[in-house]
Subunit: 343 residues, 2 copies
Amino acid sequence: MQNRTEIAELGEFGLIEHLTKNFEIHNASTVLSVGDDAAVIDHFGKQTVVTTDLLLEGIHFDLMYTPLKHLGYKAVMVNLSDVYAMNATPTQITISIGISNRFSLEALDEFYEGVYLACEKHGVDLVGGDTSSSNKGFIISVTAIGEVAPNKFVKRSTAEKGDLICVSGDLGGAFLGLTLMEREKKIYLENPKIQPDLENESYVVGRLLKPEARKDIIDFFEQHEIMPTAMMDVSDGLSSDVLHLCKQSALGCIIYEEKIPISDESSKTAYKFGLDPTVCALNGGEDYELIFTLKQEDHDKITLNEEISVIGYMTEITEGCKLLTRGGNYFDITAQGWNAFQK
Amino acid sequence: MQNRTEIAELGEFGLIEHLTKNFEIHNASTVLSVGDDAAVIDHFGKQTVVTTDLLLEGIHFDLMYTPLKHLGYKAVMVNLSDVYAMNATPTQITISIGISNRFSLEALDEFYEGVYLACEKHGVDLVGGDTSSSNKGFIISVTAIGEVAPNKFVKRSTAEKGDLICVSGDLGGAFLGLTLMEREKKIYLENPKIQPDLENESYVVGRLLKPEARKDIIDFFEQHEIMPTAMMDVSDGLSSDVLHLCKQSALGCIIYEEKIPISDESSKTAYKFGLDPTVCALNGGEDYELIFTLKQEDHDKITLNEEISVIGYMTEITEGCKLLTRGGNYFDITAQGWNAFQK
């Protein structure tokens, strides 16, 4: 970066003005946006969905290998993913940041470029937020608001026995991207002259740094009149998230190991690290795919979509949550997903 | 505290369950609450207001003299204040927290007791949030959602020339509470055996630690069919906030020093510290009162309410923003309010 403008030169209100001046309004429901005590949203005849996520430097991201533009993009995306997971369409976000004085205005601009890109891509309006200095670290809090036709939202607790369990995209990639970046960071810290070896790894690195919330899946549901019986996003790893669906729906499940979608790129990276790709998909997090359940009679409707895999089905709660391995053995699925309190 | 339960024992989901189990739903518009990817809100025929605030330890609060229960209460209140400042009624909040491992579950319970109290008092539902560990300090992010009849919300930018400028309650108290607590902290750090001297200071301490969002004023407006022409909350000090109203409405103003409401308790504390009470009201922050403008013909309607003071009127932008002192002199009002980036 060539220029460095200190944040203190602008003050809080100047900063907000600067950061939000390029954001245009996309949604007719956005009546009033940034610049007042609160934004105003008009949702006549629709239901409003609201979700929020906190992203903390050193806990959720490492600025050593996370470009600020990607971070801004991802901070929005992880919240939009929660809105889509309700079968809703995101319409507005608010974003609050706490920054220490090691960040210049130019650095913040990069962050907001990513926020802007994510908003543009998903037709979402940035309608408010808060900015503050922090004593240490970069703090990001995003709240996303969406809308859904009355009672068309999909909860986690409404799966039924016999329903198919489906996931979008592929799993484990983001965790492998993280494993790779952590290795490169360690090598770099030991010897700053060694260049990072990321050749052929762009897929898993992209999965980590630039996740895409699955708007396409929600659009597909609407076009084909598909109503999942339950849904959530896969953010903590397949094990942890499928256990949530089971617990909240008071059911058990069987997942077929061979049906878990894992990309070739992810598998190759896993083997390079001596890891089992299935374990990466089960226990790695941050894939931001959707996991949902579907009535069996809807099976034909989803075969049209190559981005959707059927990986198992819901059973009675007494049957527990099981993984049927390629070798034909049953294992209990346990939550070893990402837990912010166990570092 | 006698018991100490480590947060890690519960994990993130156990913690959320624990913290939110006592929250009941007050609003029919709350269709789905905590426990899914997002909450669902039904606002048929109303407009939705959304606002968010970040509160950071060491920047916005000092746990040395802020009881956690008060902090939880205040974290909610400062957001509700923004909703009322839109002439709207708060209905839901989300609350995200980042906590280091120096906090026990019992400490968090105290914080949530305050959150609960604030929600109860204002009939607001807690519908979601996020919890995370933090490397350092207590991080709080609250988003408040409210509703307002179509186009009855009140912006900052719509004051007109000649409109009366009014404020609720009294000003400067929270700043004096802060000044007092900072002095006591300093004395304590120098000599931990000296007990804090807070006799007769409960008013200003209360103004700092337990602010009350002015629901009563919004209710009064509704009962008496009063529609302010512009409104915001006084959170950064009267100077800074009146300048916002003027800037956004492209007008000037005259404020009468003698009309600025200051409590006797605040004046006494100010004199004890050798401070001018007017300066405390102008430049101190965190009073969470409402400042609003009103058409002159509505003057009689507000004389009914002793909690409302008329402190001046809006002028042409060319006349600037002036304070007319008790001594009959005009001074330019300048923004010396609280700025999170100038510490």
